[in-house]
Amino acid sequence: MPARVAITGLGSLSALGQDVPSHLAGLRAGTVGIGETQGVDVSTMKTKISAEVRDFRPEDHFDPRQLGLLDRTSQFAVVVARQALADAGPALEGVARHRAGAIFAASVGFHAVDDSYHKLYADKAPRPHPFTVPRAMPSGQVSHITMDLGIHGPSFSIASACSSASHAIGTAFHMIRSGMLDVAVAGGAESQITYGMLKSWEALRVLAPDGCHPFSKDRAGLVIGEGGGAVVLENMDRAIARGATIHAELVGFGMSADGMDITAPDMASAAASMRFALEDAGLAPEQVGYVSAHGTATALNDKTETAALRHVFGAHLDRLPVSSSKSQYGHTMNASGALDLVTTVLALREGFLPPTMGFNEPDPECDIDCVANASREAPIEAAISSSFAFGGLNAVLAVRRYEG
């Protein structure tokens, strides 16, 4: 019989704040962490806004020798992994070395790449900083987490663009459910707020000029965010036996690949991943009380996602609140699946619906209750968190409230 999987630790870092309590407070209050970009000179860009993690002081978390090897992305990853494990208590105590793992999003250290290439190309430096490779490598964040937390079992990175963290958490979920692992730390972090990457996103013509407005008729694109999210997943019996606080139960994971287009989403495939997550969880669509949407606020994503939701939930969608927290902490890319799962777990645990901020005008193509502009109290029995990545790689996680 497959093992049940408890979520016993949470960690978060985003434009909403640098820990889970501030994340929760921001969700409830409808805080919008989007503003004029400060970390990069955006004077030559049309898009001046992003959702930055302001006032993050790496030296508060790392000693100088450690810091030299950590890209901003890895810094975020280690900080949220530490938070999640601290929250979970002694989750790693007494676990055999090969039965505790770490699975995270694969995120390029873009700051290292940007800095080093700038020195090479613009400043004509004879060579880049010698740590460019270890800082930039996409598996850097998970390696640093294993070193920092003392994890010695199966550990690796997963790349599926903006679904990376969801695929990472879902894979860790499967590994515990199948009996391979007792404990896993999983999630993702990313910072693409560099000159080169902001320019690259702008060139792709998907950035909103003035704000993030998911499901609103005037939505005009996404807002780049940065941050990290992490969860500690644990065999349910073990978590109960050691008296851990169980935030929620992870009950399902659905995946699909559009196999269609490198950027445009596909309705049927997005719907399939949600349906598979519900089937895997043993949940009827009517049991779902909240959807944390992918909700990027591009014209195409939100109407495609709405159609997919209608396809899966039918008439129940009229009573099913769906919101996009990207309106609050931006699109954090490889971190988004983890941050959105943390958001979903908090909603379940605390009994409230996180809002879609920046909603100005209903769109007939997005005919959903998107919890416009203010959070609401609501008991939620079960919820899903959706990630529909560029390239059609979809991952949906299903969670259920844990009654104890």
Binding site: R65, G68, L69, P126, R127, H129, P130, F131, P134
Partner: protein, 89 residues
């Protein structure tokens, strides 16, 4: 490390500051590994020496092994500096 050569003294001071070890503890015979300088730290120190003194330390020089001593490191940098001076003189 005792020296009458101001160029060598400057190199020793720079290394001592970079690796956080008192310059008096930097004897020529001391392997850099014993100062808590890992192979990765040595690579970064070499990079910083290159930037600080405007020299290029070749990859296949005497610093490529695992048993580099303080003396080897300092002397190699001093030699490169002297060669550079001779070239520009």
């Amino acid at each position: 490390m005792q020296t009458d050569d101001p160029a060598v003294a400057e190199i020793v001071d720079f290394i001592s500051g970079e690796v956080g070890v008192d310059s008096n503890l930097l004897t020529p015979e001391t392997p850099v590994a014993e100062l808590g300088i890992s192979s990765l730290d040595l690579i970064e120190t070499i990079f910083k020496l290159e930037s600080r003194f405007g020299i290029e330390i070749p990859n296949d020089g005497p610093l490529s092994g695992n048993d580099v001593t303080v003396g080897t490191l300092v002397q190699h940098v001093a030699d490169l500096l002297a060669a550079q001076k001779a070239k520009t003189a």
